[in-house]
């Protein structure tokens, strides 16, 4: 690819204006959503000790999330405008409704799991929270993929799977950290499986992005990605070999793995900023597709009329 031409090296698209709350929410939303599923299934299998802790993790995740999102708004007091309408073309709109519904269901389910006082509403809320938690964990990837940012948009088929792995990893890691080792075997399997999937899928995504993966190969995003890998490796080792017996190893391993999941979300978030700031990332692939004849582009050099019509020309046509 030849070096793309640009206007004084200025970006073509705008960098997101989102601040630290958003990548943190990617983590807490996935944690909340997948924890609800883990809790529901653990309860189903009769592991109430694990289920109660997982419901707590789910509640923590979905309770912190709206606060993070509201705090990121330019007009926080207008957060309720998110529920003015339901728009399928806006993953943020869909996600706002998902988070609201999952939050309500998780609140009821967690209250019932700990107190046992809401058996009837709990019976409805538990499967609802578990089911809604699944898309809650992946829609955030759809949200950022549905932008003009090349490193996100061109990874649109992979990003939701990367986020799903991260959600499984987060839910598993939190439950490992909170649950007595004897009851935490499913959580350990979830954390280890999620971590493996996260690392593999992220590598695959970068490979598929080709030249567009540049933001992951240098700078902040690269550092965060490396940090995530280190955390996942160290945390997985602790969980795999120590957490079955030691409560301390469980707590430490789970915490380190959760930190890895958080760092991985930050890496993806930061990659979007670098991608948007680089006019070459935006213009290069567009120009290449035009030159290959795959796309016609938005410019046309031939006029659809042959004879100039002076009466209809620009007022300044006499210049030529």
């Amino acid at each position: 690819m030849t070096e793309a031409r640009s206007y004084h090296g200025q970006p073509v698209i705008k960098q997101p204006v989102w601040t630290w709350e958003i990548p943190t929410y990617f983590f807490t939303g996935g944690l909340g959503g997948a924890s609800a599923g883990l809790a529901y299934l653990a309860q189903w299998r009769g592991n109430d000790v694990l289920a109660r802790r997982a419901w707590s993790g789910a509640l923590a995740g979905v309770a912190v999330s709206p606060m993070l999102l509201t705090s990121d708004l330019g007009k926080p007091l207008r957060f309720v405008n998110m529920l003015r309408m339901f728009k399928v073309t806006s993953p943020m709109s869909v996600g706002s409704w998902l988070l609201t519904a999952t939050g309500a269901a998780t609140g009821v389910a967690a209250a019932d799991a700990w107190t046992g006082r809401l058996p009837r509403s709990g019976a409805v809320a538990r499967p609802a929270a578990a089911l809604l938690g699944l898309p809650l964990s992946t829609y955030t990837a759809a949200l950022i993929a549905n932008t003009a940012v090349p490193v996100w948009h061109e990874a649109r088929s992979m990003l939701p799977f990367v986020f799903a792995s991260g959600a499984a990893l987060s839910a598993g890691a939190a439950a490992v950290a909170l649950t007595p080792p004897d009851h935490a075997a499913p959580a350990r399997r979830l954390a280890l499986g999620g971590a493996a999937a996260e690392v593999v899928l992220e590598q695959l995504m970068e490979k598929r992005l080709g030249d567009l993966a540049a933001p992951y190969e240098e700078g902040t995003s690269h550092t965060l990605s490396r940090l995530a890998q280190a955390c996942l490796l160290a945390g997985s080792a602790m969980v795999a070999w120590g957490a079955g017996r030691s409560r301390r190893a469980s707590a430490a391993g789970g915490a380190v793995m959760a930190a890895g999941a958080l760092s991985a979300r930050w890496s993806v978030f930061k990659a979007g900023f670098a991608s948007a700031a680089d006019p070459g990332q935006v213009v290069g692939p567009q120009r290449a597709a035009i030159e290959r004849g795959e796309r016609r582009g938005a410019a046309r050099g031939h006029a659809r009329v042959s004879a100039p019509d002076p009466a209809r020309g620009s007022p300044a046509t006499s210049v030529y």
């Binding site: 698209i13 993953p91 939701p160």
Partner: protein
Amino acid sequence: MSESTLKTIAWPDSYGERAKPRMGFFTDTSVCIGCKACEVACKEWNRIPMSMQGFTGHSYDNTIDLGADTWRHVAFVEQRLPVDATEGGSLVQLAERAQAVDGGVQTYQEGEGIRWLMASDVCKHCTDAACLDVCPTGALFRTEFGTVVVQEDICNGCGYCVPACPFGVLDQREGDGRVWKCTLCYDRLKDDKEPACAQACPTNSIQFGELGELRERAEHRLARLQEAGQAKAQLYLADEDDGIHGAGAFFLLLDEPEVYGLPPDPVDTRRDLGSVWAAAGAAAAALGAGLLAAVFGGRR
């Protein structure tokens, strides 16, 4: 000429009887003189706060880009012509040009070593507007004139439209939190007035009118420029078959779009939304399967 190019597009779907003909801008950059009257008129009429004050060193462009506080932006491109360029005729002229290039003399007149491109950029008011599609609150809407406007009393500053716009038009205003952009002077249009920038433009580089009529005018202008030897003259966003189904604000450029900071093939991200939702759904299902496997795939 194709039917779709000349047809005046209204918005009967959403407005029915009250739909007006689609209005837009034809920015003919070949007659732009870089006076920035459009920027000033826009700022004054729309009461836009002060933006960056300083010097960029990028030719005469100290506005930098479109954003919350700049709804018109005049780009300045200085292009050094190759010394052996054959256009422009006599040996004397060629020698003069070579001397100008070697000596670093810069002048706005073509044929003396430097070509100066100027273009007033603005929100494109896309037919398929990504900002409007992704806005979760409905603050962004399509007016009866086919333009795209942000309702300042509804926008909650979620920022989704900012990276969704393929042209980088929208941005959040500092200290305010909401996003702002060109309204194509919605208030003036309602009173049958032309937008402030078009009225202020002294060379009619910015032309305002019904889109079908503007497109027809642009075709004649393009033909005339090419006849006059502007081989790279091109219409940008004037057709319905590009990635945004054409725009309400389109341009006549004298070089490739990216030279002016414009994307050569902008696409509304909504076009890929089907595959995005499909992937998110499949990933959610995979997560469910993973959870099942983790809980039931071993000892309790």
